[in-house]
């Protein structure tokens, strides 16, 4: 960056100055008209750009919709195919789907049947960061392979980083079929609000006291 550059910078502007002087000679009124036209040109482009941006933004925001518009009732099969007191892995076709979704439209859930018409349908996504939890019937625990979240059979948090229990789907029984309200990947923003977990002492006490499992 040295003398070589400096000297160039010194010679080149000379031409610009000459042209500036020439435009000066045309008079200030002419120059201001050119500037006005330039500004008009910029304004016109801004206006057209804005008009075109509206449909572009609308197009980009197309996926942002109410959760309810994505969800619908999906059958998980005959309600009586689920034995009482057991937890089963089921998969179903995502109701909101495109022909090119491939295997990704194959969503899974855990169905736990507590009584004749009493079910809990858990999302397989860990409430921590969404990894697929695995059910271990022997110890009656759900374990997450990612960060070590563990849940009891009723979906409540047993240990690890999750702030809350497993997400559940709303269900109903229609015509003997177990149906769930699905179509939206469960996460903290839609399926449930974040719940504050209590201090470790009360938490373990609660787990110990709870007589609802087994």
């Amino acid at each position: 960056m040295s003398d070589q550059n400096d000297s160039q910078q010194r010679t080149e502007p000379d031409i610009e100055t000459a042209s500036e002087q020439a435009s000066d000679r045309e008079g200030p009124a002419v120059v201001s008209r050119r500037w006005l036209l330039l500004k008009a040109g910029i304004a016109l482009n801004g206006l057209v750009g804005l008009a075109l941006a509206v449909p572009v933004v609308r197009y980009l925001l197309a996926p942002v919709r109410k959760d309810s518009s994505y969800k619908s009732w999906v059958s998980l099969g005959d309600a009586n195919s689920f034995p009482v007191g057991e937890t089963r892995l089921v998969s179903f076709k995502n109701p909101w789907t495109q022909p090119w979704d491939g295997q990704t439209d194959n969503v899974a859930a855990y169905v736990r049947r507590e009584g004749a018409s009493q079910f809990t349908v858990f999302a397989i996504n860990c409430a921590h960061l969404g990894c697929p939890v695995r059910w271990f019937p022997q110890s009656q625990l759900f374990m997450c392979p990612c960060h070590g979240g563990v849940y009891y059979a009723d979906g409540s948090r047993a240990s690890g980083p999750p702030e809350r229990g497993l997400f559940t789907y709303d269900y109903k029984i229609a015509g003997g079929q177990l149906q769930i309200d699905a179509g939206q990947m469960p996460s903290l923003s839609n399926t449930a609000k974040l719940v504050n977990i209590s201090s470790p002492a009360t938490n373990s006490g609660r787990n110990g006291d709870c007589g609802c499992r087994g």
């Binding site: 892995l89 990704t104 392979p145 563990v150």
Partner: protein, 499 residues
């Protein structure tokens, strides 16, 4: 020959008359740089740029075969791996090129930070560099998504869960990220657009701006202790330095850049040939739960940090930490735009860099062994050492079976095998009395689930009698001193009353 030379010159002149690029190129390559910056420490930036070129070329080559459709992407990668001649090698070069690029960009940044090269007048060069780093990481993440296997699918899931924590607009952001309510066809299409058009376009543009500023402002001089940067005098001092002790960038410094870039490219090629491409792993079917998702190398440290956060810290940390980190990086040249450049006189900078480097290394190492996760198949796959069961009573053996069958082994290791989530139990009997073990098994606590509802009293008895045997030879098991004292007192007291 002379005739050919003349023809060549004529063709060159014909183009030069129309393009007029000779002068600016000469200016750029012949500009003087301080003699001591023609150092091997200054080769990382150009190597990063070379790797960017490699990624663009190999990326285009892969796009000749890859199908950016959720239904076909995974198959097309397998066809690249197994059917297209040398398709596996192209995938491997692109994948290893990505690893090297992330590494070289980080090393470049650390070197620039250590040499104080971000100080006046190069603040904006650093700022653009921070965005280049973010774009490089963005390329690594979107590239992992295009691999569209189980890791890609669940990695996206983690992205969803992070975004969903944003107050008010979390749900909308998730829909924007995925292009719909779930990870599906629309998701892959938009990540393809990001990985192939949006991010590389921006990356290339910013990289050129970055290089432009390096040429215009000159390469940072070698930092000398005591030579302070002052805004009022720096430019004159730098010009004087290059004037008095400068050498033309080409060939003075550039030959080292060339040799290092060639070495890095060769290393990418060797890694690609020896280690091959990464994945694709299992097919992206979310109903397959037999999977242990893991992010790619550059993101392993985040994976580890997320598992160590206490639950109450999760959301604030996830939402605030990235903003603080990026703001901190952007603030560096504005907080310290003047003063010492030499690391000999910047202990805080050296310590900060060392802390970050060690922290990064530790978290990455931890993420490779994931001691926080239950080992999903330990209960059915890991064997018990024979000596633990020699001369064991039927009750103890039953306890050992329960220990395996109830997945205790997934979190607790014995004989060096099993999960690392909980403590190893090889010497548990020296730490806990049977009563304490019973209490712990039934109520859980800390990071252990309560097993009170899942084990019958008989099972708990058997399990505890097995755990009681777990102590080294010659080291007695723990006992309850007060209980023992009460029992030993009771006998003499009773004895004295008998007569």
């Amino acid at each position: 020959m002379p005739g050919m030379k003349q023809t060549g010159k004529r063709i060159y002149d014909w183009f030069e008359q129309r393009l007029q690029v000779e002068d600016p190129i000469k200016d750029a390559v012949l500009h003087k740089v301080p003699r001591n910056t023609a150092s091997w420490w200054y080769v990382f930036g150009s190597a990063a740029f070379t790797l960017l070129m490699l990624q663009i070329v190999t990326g285009i080559l892969l796009a000749l075969v890859y199908v950016p459709s959720a239904a076909e992407a995974w198959n097309s990668l397998n066809i690249l791996n197994h059917q297209v001649p040398l398709g596996w090698f192209l995938r491997a070069v692109h994948g290893w090129g990505s690893n090297f690029m992330v590494a070289v960009v980080f090393i470049h940044m650390a070197q620039v930070f250590l040499f104080g090269a971000y100080k006046f007048p190069r603040e904006l060069t650093w700022t653009v560099g921070v965005f280049l780093l973010l774009m490089t990481l963005g390329m690594a993440f979107t590239g992992q998504v295009l691999r569209f296997d189980q890791d890609a699918y669940w990695g996206l899931g983690i992205g969803v869960f992070i975004l969903s924590r944003v107050p008010w607009m979390g749900g909308g952001l998730v829909h924007l990220l995925l292009g719909g309510p779930t990870i599906a066809g629309a998701t892959l299409s938009r990540f393809f657009a990001l990985h192939v058009f949006v991010i590389p376009g921006t990356l290339l543009f910013l990289a050129l701006v970055h290089v432009w500023m390096v040429i215009k402002l000159g390469i940072n001089e070698w930092p000398m202790p005591g030579r302070l940067v002052r805004k009022s005098t720096y430019i004159a001092e730098y010009n004087q330095l290059t004037h008095e002790d400068g050498i033309p960038f080409v060939p003075g410094a550039f030959w080292k850049d060339l040799i290092f870039s060639a070495a890095v490219l060769a290393a990418v090629g060797v890694c690609a040939a020896v280690f091959g491409p990464s994945g694709p792993g299992g097919q992206p079917d979310p109903s397959i739960t037999q999977t242990v998702p893991k992010p790619d190398f550059p993101f392993l440290w985040i994976y580890a940090v997320l598992s160590y956060l206490p639950p109450s810290m999760e959301t604030p940390f996830i939402l605030i930490a990235p903003i603080v980190m990026i703001a901190g990086l952007l603030a560096v040249p504005f907080v310290a735009s003047e003063g010492e450049k030499s690391w000999h006189r910047r202990p805080v900078a050296v310590l900060a860099l060392a802390t970050i480097a060690v922290g990064w290394g530790v978290f990455t190492h931890l993420a490779m062994s994931t001691p926080w996760s239950p080992h999903m198949s330990a209960w059915s796959a890991d064997t018990l050492p024979v000596e633990y069961l020699r001369e064991a009573t039927p009750l103890v053996r039953q306890g050992a079976v329960i220990f395996q069958a109830k997945q205790c082994r997934n979190c607790h290791s014995i004989g060096g095998h099993g999960g690392e989530r909980g403590p190893a139990l090889d010497a548990v009997a020296t730490r806990m009395t049977p009563d304490q073990m019973r209490y712990k098994v039934v109520t859980g606590g800390g990071n252990m689930p309560a097993y009170g509802k899942n084990l019958s009293p008989a099972e708990i008895e058997a399990l505890v009698s097995f755990l009681e045997t777990l102590h080294p030879k010659g080291e007695p098991p723990a006992f309850d001193a007060s209980q023992q004292a009460a029992q030993s007192n009771a006998v003499p007291a009773g004895g004295s009353n008998t007569p």
